[in-house]
């Protein structure tokens, strides 16, 4: 998050940078123009300085050549005269007279010092028939020599008078100009000889540089400004000013300011701006960091910390950031609010839990009470059924026994009416006994716990069919039995179900020839549905549900025997196996009894 914020700040700064660069470019351009002006000024100044010596020399020579002494043949006298003149002139190093044959007639440097004159000077002067100058090197000294023709009476050049400027004078003239750092001022003669330089005159003065690109450039750009690499290889902005004498170029004065220096100010300014900009950026970044930390991240961290605490279960945790109007503060405030309601909810929940716990305890108490009540009831029921089975049966047995004894008594053997009544008593007792047995078995059916296992119904049904068919061996019964599946359940109780249903089918098809009994199964994922269909007497669908009630019968006992407990037992057992029971039929057209056994729920 913080990084993103910083990137955003940097992105904002990019246009500012571009503007700065543009400004710098403009400034650079104007600085460059300024530098050009400066270099031109400087070169003009230098040229003016240098031209002074040229003009001075011409005037001196022009004046001196008017003296008669210059044509005199007395060398000693002439020499003496020249030496006197030299003393008056501080700028000159030497004066002398050259014969047209190139031999020096006399000079001021003492005897034997110079035998032959500077040949190029003589030639130049003779050619021009006027003042001319050339470089003069003698031993280690380099100086500029100017020559002036001395005409004889015949109008021909009789002698040439020369004057040598003091070595270093031109260079010194250059140093008088205040040159910027790294700037170079040079003086060339028209032949490309370096006459003066500032700085480092010793290294350069006296060199023949006519063939260098730099001097070629000077010749090409007279009076102009150009940028080039100097003789020392440094890139500079150069200006050339030419010192002219009688329209002839005598000296080329160049001043060069290094490009780096020329643009230094612009660069300095740019650097200044850059530093300022960088400082601004740093400041902005710091501000962004601080701001994001203070205004955004710290609250965000507070929210996160509070959220973690709450996640850890400490619902009392809050960000504590109530003041502030930023989104994050509002978020924090909302968070606190949420945490508050969470805590409240938690408290409520705890209260509710406590209540539930106490409710549960109460409930459990009540369940325990109910259970014990139920257990009591169950025990009572058991005691009841026990006494039913024991006590109720005893009087029946007595009735039956004594009636039987009477019937066997020889006194009543012949009395048909008595025999009939005794038989009625005996039958009634038997019937009641059966009813008691059925009732007991029905009540046992509900209480007895199931022994659940896999039950192979095909086998079970086959056994039951065999057993039931054996009871009525004379009957013609056509059995159609499908292959039945295995189910989970209590084998004994399931056997009871099949026994009841199959017995019923056999019983109620009495009189049909043949009786047809079909047993089929239909399976889904959830249950298996079994159907026992017969072609017996059937029943009225209006009473279909009554069939499954305890002691409910649709037929008279003298028509079909039975107590009416069988189907009630079937329904109860099937229900305990998670299934349903139902019946379809039509009077006189047979009946179909169906039941399902759940594959999903365990028998209970």
């Amino acid at each position: 998050l913080k990084a993103r914020l910083l990137i955003l700040v940097l992105l904002l700064l990019v246009p500012a940078f571009l503007l700065m660069l543009l400004g710098n470019l403009k400034r650079q351009r104007s600085e460059k123009a300024l530098a050009r002006e400066q270099v031109v000024t400087l070169s003009k100044l230098a040229a003016a300085n240098e031209s002074y010596y040229v003009r001075q020399s011409r005037q001196q020579l022009a004046t001196m050549t008017q003296f008669p002494l210059v044509l005199m043949q007395d060398r000693t006298l002439t020499e003496k005269g020249l030496k006197t003149l030299k003393r008056l002139q501080t700028d000159f190093h030497d004066f002398g007279l050259i014969e047209t044959n190139g031999i020096i007639f006399c000079h001021t440097l003492g005897s034997n010092m110079l035998q032959s004159a500077n040949p190029s000077l003589l030639r130049k002067v003779v050619e021009a028939r006027d003042f001319a100058g050339t470089i003069f090197k003698f031993e280690s000294t380099v100086s500029l020599q100017f020559g002036y023709p001395i005409f004889g009476t015949n109008g021909r050049i009789a002698r040439v008078m020369y004057a040598s400027l003091k070595p270093g004078l031109l260079s010194a003239a250059l140093t008088n100009i205040a040159l910027p750092a790294g700037a170079v001022a040079s003086v060339f003669d028209s032949e490309g000889n370096m006459l003066a330089r500032s700085p480092d005159p010793d290294q350069w003065v006296g060199k023949q540089l006519a063939s260098t690109p730099f001097f070629q450039r000077i010749l090409a750009d007279q009076g102009g400004v150009f940028e080039a690499a100097g003789l020392d290889g440094v890139e500079r902005v150069y200006s050339v000013s030419t010192v002219v004498d009688q329209k002839r170029p005598v000296l080329h004065v160049t001043v060069g300011i290094p490009r780096s220096a020329a643009f230094a100010r612009a660069r300095d300014k740019f650097a200044g701006n850059l530093i300022l900009a960088l400082l601004t950026v740093a400041l902005l970044l710091f501000a962004a960091w601080w701001y994001s930390d203070r205004i955004f991240l710290r609250p965000a961290r507070a929210v996160v910390a509070a959220a973690e605490k709450i996640a850890g279960g400490d619902l009392k945790a809050r960000t504590g950031l109530i003041k502030g109007k930023t989104e994050i503060h509002r978020l924090a405030a909302s968070f606190d609010q949420m945490a508050g309601s969470l805590e409240k909810r938690q408290t409520e929940l705890q209260h509710a839990n406590l209540e539930i716990t106490s409710h549960n305890a109460q409930l459990e108490r009540r369940v325990a009470e109910r259970t014990s009540e139920l257990q009591t009831l169950n025990a009572e029921l058991e005691a009841f059924s026990y006494s039913v089975s024991h006590d109720l049966r005893a009087p029946l047995r007595h009735m039956h026994g004594f009636a039987q004894m009477l019937r066997n008594n020889s006194k009543f053997q012949e009395d048909v009416a008595v025999q009939k009544k005794l038989s009625a008593i005996i039958d009634a007792a038997k019937q009641m006994s059966t009813l008691i047995d059925d009732l007991l078995s029905f009540s046992r059916m509900s209480r007895q716990s199931l022994t659940v296992g896999a039950v192979d119904l095909s086998r079970l049904v086959a056994e039951v069919v065999e057993e039931v068919a054996a009871r009525e061996p004379g009957r013609a019964i056509e059995w159609k039995i499908e292959l039945l599946p295995q189910v989970r359940g209590d084998a004994a109780l399931l056997r009871q179900v099949w026994l009841n249903l199959i017995s019923n089918a056999v019983k109620y098809t009495r009189g049909r020839n043949p009786a047809v009994i079909e047993i089929s199964v239909r399976q889904t994922d959830a249950e298996a549905v079994f159907a026992i269909r017969d072609n017996g007497v059937g029943f009225d669908m209006e009473y279909a549900e009554k069939l499954f009630g305890v002691f409910q019968r649709l037929h008279h006992a003298d028509e079909f025997e039975g107590t009416g407990i069988g189907l009630a037992n079937v329904r109860r057992i099937v229900a305990r196996h998670g299934g349903r029971t139902w019946a379809e039929g039509k009077t006189g057209e047979g009946a179909t009894f169906s039941f399902s056994i759940s594959k999903l729920t365990n028998p209970t």
Partner: protein
């Protein structure tokens, strides 16, 4: 002092006693029967206590014991007999109206020798008693100290 009968019938219900005797009479065993009308009397008789303190020392060949009786019930009597070193050899047949499984299980746990549910049908009852008497009172080789005379 008359001699000891071979069959001890413990039965509280007078009608049942009559019916049982009638059934035993059918197999000519009625004269061999001593009847006790409750469990307490039966135990006193067997252990020769109280009013039976002077009965002969021989034991009955078989005891027909009703399950449900006042004071001391059949299971209790059965337990006492089977705990007694002198009496535990006497065969005991439970005669009961109850078809309850727990009575049956409880009886066998306490060492009963046979268990007969009194049928409603008198003829069947007679048949059952006949079989019983035949086996326990006549055919079975009784333990030593059992009444033998007839």
């Amino acid at each position: 002092m008359r001699s000891l009968n071979r069959i001890l019938l413990v039965e509280d219900n007078a009608r049942d006693v009559e019916l049982s005797l009638a059934a035993l009479a059918e197999c000519h065993l009625a004269n061999e029967v001593t009847v006790m009308r409750d469990g307490a009397d039966a135990l006193d008789y067997l252990f020769r206590r109280g009013k039976f303190g002077d009965r002969p020392t021989e034991n009955p060949a078989v005891i027909l014991l009703d399950l449900k009786m006042p004071k001391v019930d059949g299971l209790e009597v059965l337990a006492r007999i089977k705990q007694s070193p002198e009496l535990q050899m006497i065969p005991i047949v439970m005669l009961t109206s109850s078809q309850e499984e727990r009575d049956l299980v409880e009886s066998y746990k306490r060492g009963v020798n046979a268990y007969i549910v009194k049928p409603i049908d008198f003829d069947q009852f007679v048949e059952a008693v006949k079989q019983l008497g035949l086996f326990w009172a006549i055919l079975n080789q009784p333990p030593p100290g059992t009444a033998r005379h007839l």
